[in-house]
């Protein structure tokens, strides 16, 4: 899998997540939606840096629940951690890992909101 394809796949997930968070009420959800949008813009810049065009947006609106957000954040953490195996450009590793870490923090927020223990695992994602 090329770096550009990996970044494109991550971008689709970020856009989906941003749209989902935008549909959720509250200040924390709005802040998280903005963070997802920042991630998406960073990935778009990375694609442009590779001479690629970012794909057009497909997630303009959606409705979701906290539980949907939890599943999507978990999927994001898994996708970014898997990217560590496939990414060839070493300069992308730290920024992608930094985004992964932020998604891990979103999981903490969501677990708390859902009444669960925020710290369920010493390793994220769990194998």
């Amino acid at each position: 899998v090329s770096d550009a394809q990996t970044i494109t796949d991550l971008l689709h997930l970020e856009r989906e997540s941003a749209a989902l968070w935008e549909s959720l009420p509250g200040e924390a959800a709005a802040r998280t939606a903005e963070q997802e949008a920042i991630h998406a813009r960073g990935l778009e810049r990375a694609l442009r840096g590779m001479g690629r065009q970012a794909p057009s947006r497909t997630f303009t609106s959606t409705r979701g629940s906290l539980r949907d957000a939890l599943e999507l954040e978990d999927e994001l953490v898994r996708a970014y951690s898997e990217a560590m195996r496939s990414i060839s450009n070493a300069r992308l590793l730290a920024p992608l890992a930094s985004i992964c870490a932020n998604h891990g923090q979103h999981l903490v927020i969501l677990r708390g909101e859902l009444g669960n223990d925020p710290l369920t695992r010493a390793f994220e994602p769990v194998e």
Binding site: Q35, E36, R85, P95, A97, G104, Q105, A122, F123, E124
Partner: protein
């Protein structure tokens, strides 16, 4: 006897940096110049392990001012990181280092008087832990080790979120926990 310090954000940051450095000295594994790619990965694992030992010691101190289940869980997860890093080092044929005597760590920590100071100190250490793992990523030659490093870095970022929340701050402050894209 540790001299009293006036706790400001700046002194806590300096203390966190000193504590991290204190954990990284002594018998650190040395890079092998003849085999840089082979030796580099265990060296970085060894440095990360030293930092994890520091975090375990720090949460012992923080827990005295912030009692409760969550700080105990943080300490337990740091011990799990120690165990995992030790296992990875043994897999690479290296002997993982043991923690230093507790007093060595305590000497490098600031004197913490309040719950807020303890949580600021923990937050600074966690942020530094995330930075440490991220800074090692481009140099790790083994792609599986990169993934392991990110799994632990993400866990440390979660610790940072929990500590900030305990301190009455938004858990996820920045879209990039460290750095920018």
């Amino acid at each position: 006897m540790i001299p009293p310090m006036t706790m400001t954000r700046r002194t806590l940051l300096a203390a966190a940096a000193a504590a991290g450095l204190a954990g990284c000295g002594g018998s650190d594994p040395r890079p092998d110049a003849a085999r840089p790619h082979v030796a580099g990965d265990p060296r970085r694992l060894g440095l990360a392990l030293a930092f994890e030992h520091t975090l375990v010691a720090a949460y012992d101190v923080v827990g005295e001012l912030v009692p409760g289940r969550q700080v105990r869980e943080l300490a337990e997860q740091e011990r799990e990181h120690v165990a995992r890093l030790s296992e990875l080092m043994r897999d690479l044929g290296e002997q993982p280092r043991e923690p230093r005597p507790r007093d060595d760590y305590l000497r490098s920590f600031p004197r913490l008087r309040t719950r807020a100071e303890a949580l600021d100190f923990a937050a600074d250490l966690e942020e530094r832990a995330v930075r440490t793992y991220l800074s090692y990523l481009p140099a790790l030659t083994d792609r599986e080790l990169r993934r392991e490093a990110v799994r632990i870095a993400t866990s440390e970022a979660q610790h940072l979120a929990v500590v900030r929340d305990l301190n009455g701050l938004p858990p996820a402050e920045h879209a990039y926990v460290t750095g920018t894209m």
